[in-house]
């Protein structure tokens, strides 16, 4: 009789289990001879790569187009923002797209094309401003939480989790109903609601950095906490912040447009704004009048696509 134990293989030598890779062809050039890449040349290489990336170029083209619309709308638009289009002295309202009004006219005869051009600046101011504030605040909080840890980190993490569990748009609605939909209120609200998610990203990046040797070395040199955070860690997470900013701009456009569509976009609804204009005309799509809402909708879609193409190509280049 043989027991199962008899079949057990003798344990091999632990040394053998390590499977040390055998280097059959050692590199001809010793590693140390490789050119040390300094930060400048890495940056230059990244810029070159961006300029070769089609998605970055297309994204930039789209965003610059809209930037021009917001900077020199009077040159690009064909009619004033608020006045109706007149042909031979009579107002043409509810006109489908034609030579007189490329994108048609709305219920009061305003040129939809010109409204789309004038509508660019609202989104192009609010969204980047909110994203910038959110990234700045999130960077400060993330640095502190990721570097010091401890009970402050623990409590703030819980708060962040609570805020992130509710849809941003619901919280934004509640805040803006309280404080009114002024430009400042919109920017601050979106910035405040985006800060938790930025903080979480930055915190994770800071935690990874804080375990590296250069931070330990700075601590041994006796540097202060703020110095290590701002002069040692911050320069190493700028890529994270840049990508986070572009991604947040995309989501901020999403949020700004949605809020405007819900009537929380501006104090004055006659001022051209893509979301506001859609909210006033989308009910007409069913009856066949599609142009006053579809063109601003296309404008929103095009801008977010542009911003996201930029964000994505930056992310790719930085992660290499």
């Amino acid at each position: 009789m043989t027991s199962i134990d008899d079949f057990e293989q003798p344990r091999s030598d632990p040394e053998e289990d390590l499977h040390e890779p055998i280097d059959l062809e050692p590199p001809a050039v010793p590693q140390s001879a490789a050119p040390a890449l300094d930060r400048k040349s890495v940056k230059a290489e990244q810029r070159r790569e961006l300029m070769r990336s089609p998605s970055f170029l297309i994204g930039m083209f789209i965003v610059i187009l809209w930037l021009l619309c917001s900077l020199i709308p009077d040159v690009i638009a064909r009619y004033p923002e608020l006045d109706p289009v007149r042909v031979d002295g009579t107002v043409i309202a509810r006109q489908s797209p034609s030579a007189d009004a490329w994108f048609g006219t709305d219920g009061t005869g305003r040129d939809v094309y010109s409204r789309v051009v004038y509508g660019a600046d609202n989104v192009l101011i609010n969204a980047p401003a909110a994203a910038f504030l959110a990234v700045a605040l999130g960077a400060i909080l993330g640095l502190i939480m990721g570097y010091y840890r401890g009970w402050v980190d623990e409590i703030l993490s819980r708060v962040i989790e609570a805020v992130l569990s509710l849809p941003v748009i619901l919280l934004a609605i509640m805040v803006l109903v309280v404080f009114g939909a002024s430009r400042i209120a919109i920017i601050l609200t979106i910035a405040g609601l985006f800060t938790p998610v930025v903080t979480r990203t930055v915190r994770a990046a800071v935690q990874t950095e804080a375990q590296l040797d250069y931070v330990a070395a700075a601590k041994l040199r006796g540097e202060s906490g703020p110095f290590i955070m701002l002069r040692e860690i911050l320069p190493n997470i700028t890529n994270v912040l840049v990508v986070e900013f572009t991604v947040r701009v995309g989501y901020a456009i999403f949020t700004v447009a949605t809020l405007a569509f819900l009537g929380l976009g501006a104090d004055d609804v006659t001022v051209a704004d893509w979301g506001t204009d859609i909210s006033q005309t989308y009910g007409l799509i069913v009856s066949g009048q599609w142009w006053p809402s579809i063109f601003p909708a296309l404008a929103i879609a095009l801008l977010v696509i542009g911003v996201n193409l930029i964000a994505d190509s930056l992310d790719k280049v930085y992660k290499g």
């Binding site: 989790e161 509710l166 849809p167 609605i173 447009a257 949605t258 066949g288 977010v304």
Partner: protein, 315 residues
């Protein structure tokens, strides 16, 4: 496993408490005076005061917060402000059910298509197919839901006339008729989430395709569908499950614009109306419902992941 669930539940309760506090703080700083608004512009001081007492608005804040907590525990939020005499729960229930139907249909469409798209992109990595799936997903995911909704309503609902462009099925509608009516908003949700879920799945699938066990499976002669089904899926789908869980709160409460476009009486639209009314009990109940849905969805996602991956159970 029991400890894992207990810990998760405890954290969920803490988060829920914080949410209740945020909601309470926001609803109590509303500048408008709901009692005055409900009583009408010409009501006497006494009438407003009586209403205030009736609604419990003159109680100390701590009492009011206690009442909200008790309401959240018993899920009884009292009467609506904007529709006196109607229990808040009777307004929430149908909206929740409507949202659930829309979300269910959206998930049935979104999950298989996005998962297949993500795995296909990972399998054909760095080819034109991969790039077009990723780019299309990126573009569609960043467009606001109400914008996609407007496009679909215009193209499919009005121009082609294939589907109803307003989601108001008749009261006696059967199962399939009802699906027809909510298919357009569900397609808009597919549009928003395809890119997101496909990208997450693609990343997970790439890791799985690169792993040794997948290479072994290919080398022992399994066919591609077999390898994907038996080895790639289970490992690639863990991030997908997690992400789907975290998006449930948004699907139930965040699609305000989309529900407005299709005039669909879902939870998001109800909360929006409650916020603008303002109707505190309804608003609080709505937001708490969304938070609870989020908790349950993320908890289920964690449990599914623990079931898929034994290692997750131990940590």
């Amino acid at each position: 496993m029991a400890r894992f669930i207990a810990r998760r539940l405890l954290l969920a309760v803490v988060t829920l408490l914080l949410i209740l506090f945020i909601v309470f703080a926001l609803t109590r700083v509303f500048p408008s005076d709901p009692a005055k608004q409900l009583a009408g512009p010409f009501a006497s001081e006494e009438r407003v005061a009586a209403l205030e007492e009736n609604l419990g608005l003159d109680d100390p804040l701590i009492t009011q917060f206690g009442r909200l907590l008790w309401g959240a525990v018993t899920f009884n939020f009292g009467e609506s402000f904007s529709q006196p005499g109607v229990q808040v729960l009777d307004l929430i229930r149908p909206a929740l059910w409507n949202s659930a139907k829309l979300v269910a249909l959206a998930l049935v469409l979104t999950l298989p298509i996005s998962i297949l798209g993500g795995i296909w992109a990972a399998y054909k990595r760095d080819t034109a197919i991969d790039r077009s799936i990723v780019s299309f997903g990126l573009a569609s995911a960043s467009i606001p839901d109400f914008v996609s909704g407007v496009f679909l309503q215009f193209l499919i609902g009005v121009q082609l006339g294939w589907l109803p462009s307003i989601s108001n099925p008749p009261a006696d509608a059967g199962f399939f008729t009802e699906i027809r009516y909510i298919l357009l908003p569900a397609l808009a949700i597919l549009f928003v989430y395809f890119g997101y879920i496909a990208r997450i799945t693609r990343a997970g699938a790439i890791t799985a395709f690169d792993s040794d066990y997948t290479r072994t499976a290919f080398m022992k002669g399994l066919s591609v569908p077999e390898v994907i089904r038996r080895h790639v899926m289970k490992n690639a789908l863990q991030p997908t499950v997690a992400v789907t869980g975290t998006q449930m709160g948004y699907m139930f409460g965040g699609l305000v614009g989309l529900e407005l476009v299709f005039n669909y009486p879902g939870l998001g639209r109800l909360i929006f109306q409650a916020a603008t009314a303002p109707d505190f009990p309804l608003l609080q109940a709505g937001v708490v419902s969304v938070a609870i849905i989020f908790m349950l969805a993320t908890l289920s996602a964690d449990l599914i992941i623990a079931w898929m991956n034994p290692r997750a159970r131990l940590s």
